[in-house]
Subunit: 312 residues, 2 copies
């Protein structure tokens, strides 16, 4: 008997099975961002998922990078800023809402205990008080572990994700549960350095900047973007802890490394002595993206002058 | 029988009793930052502690603002940036290490379960594996709740804080437990707007900047600091979610609002149409602080010229 070998993309994700990160990875498989067969590999933390790519255990990693509630995911950014360079090739933003899961057939009056990761418990406290006023919360070690606690009869219901409930054959008692509407988290797909996905005109570029520790060095770097009409979408200082008063900066801007303006800004930063780590350019679905100015007319004008044409 | 009424400062803190925030507040009482009798009021979150000051339930609030591991505490910064303005008057940085607490007399071989807040569990996993290899972790809803679980016989040991162990009469089985050395968190003391503590020459000033959403507005704002030789110590963009592509910026700089350079920079930002929310100036013990340039000689020179003296 012979089996055919299908090449499979190994993607590490911040696990365990059933986390929002796995839901993000599943969304990327479904929406065509990833269109190869995938083997998912659970990692205990975002840096551990990224290290699996560095060590060759995985081809890509899916990790959270920014939450609308908690802000930037510092362990992800710190890992991308240090160690072997990796590159972001795609991003997805997921609404963060919870699923209340029970063992199939559990009636509402039988729900006395609700397992929840403490961070999740805080985000559904009002819903629980209103809909399950008799129940009390027991702590779980993660959103996925809360579902395990229900499977193992250690709780009657879980505050978990839809994917974790489905994976374990639990019944979804309620979906899209969240006290405050509109919370979301962005997740990125990361791999070894590569030519970035083609420029779409609605792209984002991410870098880590190390700057000399003196007043004005950040302003000078910002000017390289401003002079070229490039909009920044994130800036975040981060102490490096390698020396007193030493910082690096996590910077995202609109545009693609193949945009003239972005390319020139990166060259200027490099020329001025900044330590520039390129983290990638990728298409963004965020619709507020104003692209860097299109300079094709100026490029044609300059080329004409250089060739001795009589342009005015 | 007559009792004398002692005025007591009511300070809200991110609780419950025994959190690192309460330990920070206790340190401020001990080191003389606060030198009045204090009543501590537990609040369920940093924004809730700040709201207690806004509502008059508390005179001051003690809340975490930045962790060396997790980065800026976004709920604290978001609350300071919005609603009624409050002002930071003091800051303290605490090393983050854990205490392993047991019921008095518990022998090591009797420790089968260890209650831990999941975030804390991740920070002591190696220590537990080495020193309590037989024990397994059970989730607790907070560092303080882990200690409660031991009091209530729901676990044999707790990963908790020294203050929580002492408050509950537990025995400290081990202190200063942390897999990675050097983790710390900064906490601030906040109150209604006030004249700031006097300039010490080693101060920090914090503002929230709202800027027009166009390329270059951030660079222009950065230039107001750079032109005056003022070092920034934090910059963090934050989507406001009130409109597409609208950001505010959390900015800390060296110096005091009474420093000429800092005062001039704030005036310039205000003149240029930025929305400037002043969050306070306070003494910092961070020793990498290079103060803004002392301009007393230039001030004397200018004053002399204005009075018609013959200066060169």
């Amino acid at each position: 008997m012979q089996r055919s070998l299908i090449p499979v993309l190994r993607i590490a994700y911040f696990g365990p099975a059933g986390t929002f990160t796995e839901a993000a990875l599943e969304s990327m498989e479904r929406n065509g961002t990833i269109n190869e067969p995938v083997t998912r590999i659970s990692a205990p933390s975002p840096p551990a998922a990224l290290d699996m790519v560095r060590n060759g255990v995985a081809d890509q990693a899916c990790v959270p990078i920014e939450s609308s509630v908690e802000g930037p995911v510092i362990p992800t950014l710190d890992s991308l800023a240090t160690h072997q360079r990796l590159q972001i090739v795609a991003e997805i933003e997921l609404p963060i809402t919870f699923t209340i899961a029970v063992r199939p057939g559990t009636p509402v009056e039988a729900i006395k205990t609700v397992a929840a990761y403490p961070v999740a418990a805080a985000q559904v406290a009002q819903w629980i008080a209103k809909n399950l006023p008799e129940a009390h919360i027991v702590a779980a070690t993660s959103n996925a572990a809360a579902a395990d606690d229900v499977c193992e009869n250690e709780a009657d219901a879980a505050v978990t994700t839809a994917i974790a409930a489905d994976q374990r054959g639990l019944q979804r008692f309620a979906d899209k549960v969240a006290d405050v509407e509109g919370a979301s988290t962005s997740f990125v797909l990361v791999q070894a350095p590569t030519a970035p996905p083609a420029r779409t005109g609605s792209d984002r570029t991410s870098i880590v900047l190390g700057l000399p520790n003196k007043p004005g060095s950040l302003a000078a770097a910002m000017n390289e973007f401003a002079l070229r009409g490039i909009d920044l979408t994130r800036i975040q200082s981060r102490p490096t802890r390698t020396g007193m008063g030493t910082y690096r900066f996590y910077i995202d801007c609109r545009g693609h490394i193949d945009d003239t303006a972005v390319g020139e800004a990166l060259k200027a930063l490099h020329r001025n002595g900044a330590d520039v780590r390129y983290l990638g350019s990728w298409p963004t679905t965020v619709t507020d993206a104003s692209s860097p100015p299109d300079d094709s007319a100026e490029t044609a004008w300059l080329a004409a002058l250089r060739q001795g044409e009589d342009h005015t």
